[in-house]
């Protein structure tokens, strides 16, 4: 009779021990700050004003944030910003992917060139466009629209920031759409062609349904990213002129790192996280994805 081999505790759980360092790092740089942020959001807490006592407020900060006109304004502006950039980026990205989904001489280089904006750091992009928008020496003022200070106009500043975001992140939509197009099976398209469908009909009734999931993933990713927009706006307008580009991240930055009301800023961040998560979940549920 063969005796069953005794497996030690360490051997049975060896994978856990290998994961331990990564888990420790994850806890230190993510779990702990997140938990601390939630804890701080329940307090009236200022890092600089020692005369304002650190008081437990429960959900008081949250209620105050929801009633704060600055918060409401920033939500409105962020929503407006997303409403402008997302459809344009999606349409342009898909359009470019369709246009460049062919093999010809130099097409690969063209496709790579279209990706360049995405590779530049947002701060550099912001600085570059800020100079381009400059009414004195900027390219746009000199050669396109004269006598218009885009970044100084309460009417156009948000659109100016949106244009920059579209310029930088349309390549992302293009990349995802292109990858999706390339991975589509050829048979349905060929079958539709054989059945006499026109190109537009093939695109609308075959290609788009097959691409739907990929596109929605791309739109969801861009939406979540656009919700967090900060660097471009900060470099170009810092939320001005007159809070017309005061997107949510800029407001939190100001409250948390200019006034150092960290409790209030943390509450704002958690509310916005809830809004972002809800939006993402709703979007995916609409398309009947399972989370």
């Amino acid at each position: 009779m063969v005796r069953a081999k005794q497996v030690s505790f360490f051997t049975r759980h060896i994978s856990f021990f290998f994961l331990l360092p990564a888990f420790a790092l994850f806890t230190a740089i993510f779990m702990y700050p997140t938990a601390y942020s939630l804890y701080v959001s329940l307090f009236q807490y200022s890092l600089v004003h020692k005369n304002i006592p650190k008081l437990f407020r429960g959900f008081g900060n949250y209620l105050e944030v929801l009633a704060d006109p600055h918060f409401q304004n920033s939500l409105l502006i962020t929503g407006k910003f997303i409403g402008i950039v997302l459809p344009i980026e999606a349409l342009l990205g898909i359009g470019l992917a369709l246009l460049l989904n062919r093999e010809s001489r130099g097409m690969r280089l063209v496709r790579i060139a279209f990706l360049f904006p995405m590779m530049i750091t947002p701060v550099t992009v912001g600085l570059m466009w800020r100079f381009m928008y400059n009414p004195e020496v900027g390219f746009l003022a000199h050669y396109l629209i004269k006598d218009l200070n885009w970044l100084g106009s309460t009417r156009y500043a948000l659109y100016a920031c949106a244009l920059v975001d579209v310029w930088q992140w349309t390549p992302f939509m293009f990349l995802i759409s292109f990858a999706g197009l390339r991975s589509l099976p050829r048979e349905p398209v060929e079958a539709a062609f054989v059945d006499g469908a026109s190109r537009i009909q093939i695109f609308w009734y075959v290609t788009i349904p097959l691409l739907k999931r990929v596109l929605l993933i791309a739109i969801t990713l861009r939406l979540l990213d656009a919700l967090k927009i900060f660097d471009i706006v900060y470099i170009m307008t810092r939320g001005g002129p007159a809070v017309t580009t005061d997107v949510f991240s800029i407001l939190v930055y100001r409250v948390g790192l200019h006034f150092f009301s960290v409790g209030y800023a943390a509450a704002m961040s958690w509310i916005f996280l809830a809004i972002s998560l809800t939006t993402a979940i709703v979007l995916l549920k609409i398309c009947k994805f399972e989370i």
Partner: protein, 439 residues
């Protein structure tokens, strides 16, 4: 056998990791031990005195004491955030920090900077020669009877105007009232020159611009304008509404995008000769009298602020840049030695020579040779009365933001003047209650 091998591999990898971490720490420790001399790190806004501090003042100090100076500059628009961020993390990265008087109370009350009293009483340390420095900004440097800072750069706000353009337009001289200022702005706007500018892109200047107009009236209550002596908000009145309207009046004769002009843009536009008159903190006009960078060097007039009525009493806001010792500094005595060196006075002459219009050293301010180089210095003597900028509250940055938001809302036609002032008063009151000044 396979499991034993896994255990051995794991232990070897863990040992390598621990070894690497230990080696790195030891290397850094050794590097810091190897430093024979002390280096003082100074954080300052990007201003002319910072350049002077790094290029000449620091070198002279090093020759005398062996202590090195490293100056790091950031734009003025972010110096407050950077300063408070460094101080609240209790980081020893910077030994000395300079910044604006508008948040002096906030920094001192928060306990992140050192009192100078113990250093001043220490006979082994050089004497802080306060008699060489003006007392203009003492309200910002002295807190509850203890000195926490010295001033690097006193400046009032003031009125700068282009003498050549005024002469061409047949105007008699600097405007004495805000109505005259507006009238001149209309007459001076020609070609690519604008008659005035509002620097609404900067919170500090946006709020200050409003307060300049407010200070053109007689005080509202208790000799004050925003709060009375009990910290009750008193800004909600028709004179403040009128001040907003006066401010908006010049917008049609300001450059497009004036709502986004910060100090940097305003300074550049001035040096390029695009603006005919402006009211601002005069230390923000960096290098406007330096012919190698400014097209308008020698063409500028400096005058007291316009008022509301011709018989108004001149009031100026006092501003300055202070220097504090970081509580977390590893070299506080050496930092104090640098302050004492500055207080001897020669450093302030270097600041002036590098383009700083404002100055805290009496010898520099009262030197007729400097008056010849900078008409601003001569104007300083005309200042008869001043009002301190800082309201005395550590919450001033938030107060300033509240006022700035309402001013910006009115100037961008989002609110009427009355609504803006009403909301300003309500939000200031909310802040005072939250800060515990009253229920």
């Amino acid at each position: 056998m396979k499991n034993k091998r896994r255990i051995v591999v794991f232990l070897v990898m863990a040992s390598i990791l621990v070894g690497l971490v230990g080696l790195t720490s030891a290397t850094f420790a050794q590097m810091s031990d190897k430093k024979d001399s002390i280096t003082l790190h100074i954080l300052t806004p990007l201003m002319s005195y910072a350049t002077a501090m790094q290029e000449i003042v620091g070198e002279e100090f090093t020759k005398r004491t062996g202590i090195k100076i490293e100056v790091e500059t950031v734009p003025y628009s972010v110096i407050h955030e950077r300063t408070v961020f460094e101080l609240t993390t209790e980081s020893p990265s910077y030994d000395l920090i300079t910044g604006g008087a508008e948040y002096a109370d906030e920094i001192v009350a928060s306990g992140y900077v050192l009192s100078l009293e113990s250093f001043m009483a220490d006979p082994t340390l050089p004497r802080l020669q306060l008699e060489n420095l003006s007392t203009w900004s003492d309200p910002f440097n002295i807190h509850k009877g203890e000195r926490y800072a010295i001033s690097i750069n006193d400046t009032p706000d003031g009125y700068i105007w282009r003498k050549d353009l005024f002469e061409k337009a047949g105007l008699p001289g600097a405007a004495k009232t805000w109505d005259e200022y507006l009238d001149y702005a209309k007459k001076l706007t020609k070609g690519d020159v604008f008659g005035a500018v509002l620097l609404m892109g900067a919170q500090d200047e946006g709020q200050s611009g409003f307060m300049r107009r407010v200070y053109g009236f007689e005080p509202f209550e208790d000799g004050r304008y925003i709060y009375n002596s009990k910290n009750e908000v008193i800004i909600d009145n028709r004179k403040a509404v009128r001040a907003l309207e006066i401010m908006k009046g010049v917008m049609p004769w300001s450059p497009p995008g004036t709502l986004s002009y910060a100090y940097g843009e305003g300074n550049t536009a001035w040096m390029q000769g695009k603006i005919a008159q402006a009211t601002t903190w005069l230390d923000m006009l960096q290098e406007v009298e330096k012919p190698d960078v400014s097209k308008v060097a020698g063409l500028n007039g400096y005058s007291p602020m316009p008022g509301v009525e011709p018989t108004r009493v001149y009031n100026a806001m006092a501003g300055s840049q202070e220097m504090w010792i970081n509580k977390a500094s590893e070299h506080p005595r050496e930092a104090y030695k640098f302050m004492a060196y500055l207080s001897e006075g020669e450093a302030y002459q270097h600041f002036f020579d590098y383009g700083e219009l404002g100055n805290s050293c009496l010898a520099v301010r009262n030197n007729p040779e400097n008056w010849a180089k900078s008409p601003f210095m001569a104007m300083w003597a005309q200042v008869e009365k001043t009002l301190p900028l800082v309201t005395g509250h550590p919450e001033f940055p938030e107060e300033q933001r509240i006022m700035y938001d309402e001013v910006a809302a009115f100037l961008s036609d989002k609110k009427s003047a009355q609504a803006a002032i009403k909301d300003m008063a309500a939000n200031l009151e909310k802040l005072m209650k939250k800060a515990g000044y009253y229920d």
